[in-house]
Structures are given as C-alpha cells and as structure tokens.
Symmetry: C2
Subunit: 278 residues, 2 copies
C-alpha cells in the first residue's frame, strides 16, 4: 500500500521552533504548556527535564531558566520575569511578536487600536498589553465594534489564527466609518495551509488517517475536510489503527493537527506499514 503525507501538516513554523528551543533549554520551565499535546509535553519532561508552571508565582528559586511559549505573554509579566534572577528564553512566535510590535508603535503614534480576536486568548492578552495607552479595543465582530466610538485614525491587527474573511468584515466597517485605517494583516496562513493540503490529498487518496487530539478543533477540521472526499479516520495514537480499514485500498493519505509532533506521525506510518504488509 502506498502512503503519502499531505504537503503541509502538523506543527506550524512557530511551534516547531518553540519545541527546538525547549530541547535546547534543558532544566527550564515553560509558562503554561508549550503545546496542546500531552505526549509531547511528557517527552520534553522526560528527555529534557523541561516542565511547565501555571504562573510566574510558581517559579521558585530552584528554577534558573524560563521559556516564554509561542503565544507570548503580557508585557507586565515579562517585566516581572526580568525582575527575577532567571534566564528568560523567548519562544514567542515571530508572527505573534509582529502584532505586539505594531500595537506598541501605533499606540505610541497616537492611533486607536482595534484588535480582531478573542480577549481571553493568551496571544491577545499579550498583544494588547503592548499598547502604551488605554484606547485598545478587542472585538470578535462588527456588532461589538458598533458599540465603540473610535477616534478618526485607527490601526488594526488580527489574532494570527483568525480567518481573513472575518477580518475583512471588521476592516470594511472601519474604512466606511473612519478617516484613516491602518490595516496590518497579521493572520498566519499555517492553519489554512494544512487545510488546503488535506483537501488536495483526500481527493486522490482512498483512505485518510488524521492524527491529533479528538477534541482539538483544528484536527477535527482536517478530519471533516478529508471526510468530504474519502473514508477518513481521526486517531490519537497507533493503537487505534484497525487493519480492516485498509482492505482494498491503494493510497493512504496522512495528515496531522497543529499540535501533533512529527515522531508520532512517523510511529503511526510505521504501524500502518506493519498491518498492511502482504
């Protein structure tokens, strides 16, 4: 049986980079889990002694290095870390760093700031903290925006994982109602690249195996797309594989959610090869 991986799958650039940083930072702690995958968290703990703490207050004197994860953290928390006698390793995704810098610069230049995103998401908590003034507004839709009276000059950024069409609804409204709107497209295409790739592969495959957490929303999305085109299964580990699935199939496509490490993908491919041997 032929096995083919999607052109793009699994970790995005920022997560790959953060995991490599963690592997290079033995005995560090991360502020919050580095990634939404318990197997990977366990691997980093066992092989590199990189564990995680829930908050800065839980960093005791025995800990000498702390890793800031891809989402970034609020500016004040970074300052709090700097006041500790500790090495700070910044794994903030460069695509998240960008809106942080934009918000800082634009707020200094006197612009009202509109952030399209979820105010409860760590990334957004970090990004908004970089405004030097209080006129920073986080919205999820135009309805929320209508309740806010902004000044004539506005700068806007988006949470990296949002959909561009939803952001355009926000920018259209702003352009219609204000004199100058400085739009920074800070959306990262990684999520959508995985989706496009799974669609492309599912069209030619006879069966698709999607690897990732059963309650991971981006993994479920990949599974839903694949299901439109062929028989598809969402699995978390190799033990779930049923040899029956592959009977009379020629091409098996593989994709994985954004939190699925490469080693897990390889393990599952080996298992598929094993069960379909002969």
């Amino acid at each position: 049986m032929l096995i083919k991986k999607a052109k793009s799958y699994g970790f995005c650039f920022g997560v790959k980079r953060a995991v490599e940083i963690a592997e290079d930072s033995k005995n560090a702690v991360t502020l919050g889990p580095l990634i939404h995958n318990p197997l990977e968290i366990k691997r980093l703990a066992q092989n590199y002694n990189v564990n995680y703490v829930d908050s800065i207050d839980k960093i005791d004197d025995n800990i000498k290095r702390v890793i800031v994860r891809t989402h970034g953290i609020p500016k004040k928390e970074l300052e709090k870390l700097k006041n500790k006698n500790i090495e700070i390793i910044d794994a903030t995704c460069p695509f998240v760093k960008k809106p942080q810098e934009i918000v800082e610069e634009m707020s200094k230049a006197g612009y009202d700031i509109v952030i399209f995103g979820d105010i409860n998401h760590p990334e957004i908590k970090g990004v908004m903290s970089y405004s030097v003034h209080e006129r920073v507004f986080v919205v999820l839709d135009v309805k929320e925006l209508k309740n806010i009276k902004l000044k004539e000059h506005i700068a806007t950024v988006a949470q990296t994982t949002r959909k561009i069409n939803d952001y355009l609804k926000i920018t259209d409204y702003l352009i219609q109602n204000y004199k100058e709107v400085r739009v920074f497209n800070t959306i990262c295409n990684a999520t959508f690249e995985n989706q496009d790739a799974v669609r492309e592969l599912a069209k030619e495959a006879d069966i698709m195996i999607i690897i990732g957490g059963k309650n991971s929303s981006n993994t479920k999305q990949l599974y839903n797309i694949a299901s439109e085109y062929c028989e598809s299964y969402l699995i978390e580990n190799e033990n779930e594989i049923n040899p029956e699935w592959f009977k009379n199939k020629k091409l098996c496509g593989i994709s994985a959610g954004a939190s699925t490490p490469e080693w897990l993908v390889e393990k599952i491919i080996s298992k598929i090869k094993e069960v379909t041997w002969n």
Copy 2:
C-alpha cells in the same frame, strides 16, 4: 399646491465654495469650466467677467488672476502658474486637497500608492501628481490591481465621487495580499446625500421635478430614483414645465443635479407656483 425641496440637492459644498470664490474674483479666468452647467458659466461671465481658458498656455499677459477649479490641477501645472506674473486663486475642493496631501506625505514616507479612480479624470491627474516617486498606481477595479506587483507597505486613497462598496473591493484585495495597507477613505458623501434625500422625498410626494442637464449622469440618477416612487420629470429650465403634470397633485418634490445653481431652482419653483395658482 405644496412644494418641498429635498433635504440635500444641487451644488455640493466644494462647488458652492468655488462659485462664491469666482464671484469674489472679478476679471479672473478659470482653468477649464468651473462647473458643468452652461447657464452658470454664462452668468459668471456676464456678471463677474469670469471666463475660462482651456490650458495654461492660453493665459496671456492681459489676465491677472486665475482660478484653480474644484478638481485641482497637477503639481507641475501649479508650478507653471506660479512662474507667471499672475494671482492664483485656489478653489480646489478641500475634499480633493486631502488626497493630494495624503499622496504627497505617504509617498515621502516610502509607501507604494494605490489610487482608486479614473486616470483620465482631472481630479485624479492632480492627486497622482503629488507623489514624490513613480510607484503610484491608478486602478478602477481589482482586475487591474492583480497585474501590479506592489511592495509590502501600501497607502491608498479614492476619487471623491466613487462608491464606497467599490473601494472596499480594492482595499479587501490589498489587505489579503500585502502586509500593511493604510486606507484613507477620501470618498465624499455629497452625491449620495442628494440621492438619499431624493428617495426620502419621492416616497411622500405625488410628483417630483428634477432639475439638471439631460445628459448629466448624476441628474439622471436622481430622476431614476424618483421615478421608482412617483411620477417624475427631468427638466433643464422653466420653459419645459407643463401645467397638466400638476393636476390632482398635492405635494410636488424638488431636487437638482450637482451642477444646478440655486437661482435656477428658485426660478423653476416660481414658475411651478405660477402655473398651479388656482
């Protein structure tokens, strides 16, 4: 019979202002006709000796004052005027001056410039001339934009008379494809205010009289809107009025195209009153 004028009609702010400037500038010439209305051009010539010339080269030594009309003129032509021994009276509409200033400032700051408008329109010829570099692109739709490879940072303005929804198609495309888009909404609502007002009035009127040139596109647009709601007539002068139109009508609504002077509106209202008397 009751006669009611639309809440907004006729000259926009910029044209009103330009006509007042012309009335205050006896013996001047305008560069191109001040307004698309031959009756008004004639009145300014007869009462104020304000005539027009087609080009700067036709300004001879006998002429001591020149009026720049609402559309503005290219920067180089303004410089050419400054080199003549002549008083320059600038009647450029402030809403046109704004995009000129923005294009100058943004090009100096290194932005690529995208102008949404008609490259053959005098307003756009003026606006684009204010760029200090050559990377200024005038487009009418997204198709044209797709043929241009822009730099990552773009500033954009629109011709003042364009529709906002068409401009949003341009800005949506730019936002999707480039890192920073600095959108200046330079569209003037005057045209649309006249349209909204004619619609509102036509709903309650029994008959609508629209005053303006029969080949003026904005006047025809007003007539089309009025016709949707009640019996409507487009006239250029008071001689076209037919008393029969007003039989059994209670409320007559009045609107006028953007180049129709107020004195003509008043003349026509007097005539309607005259023919409907008793």
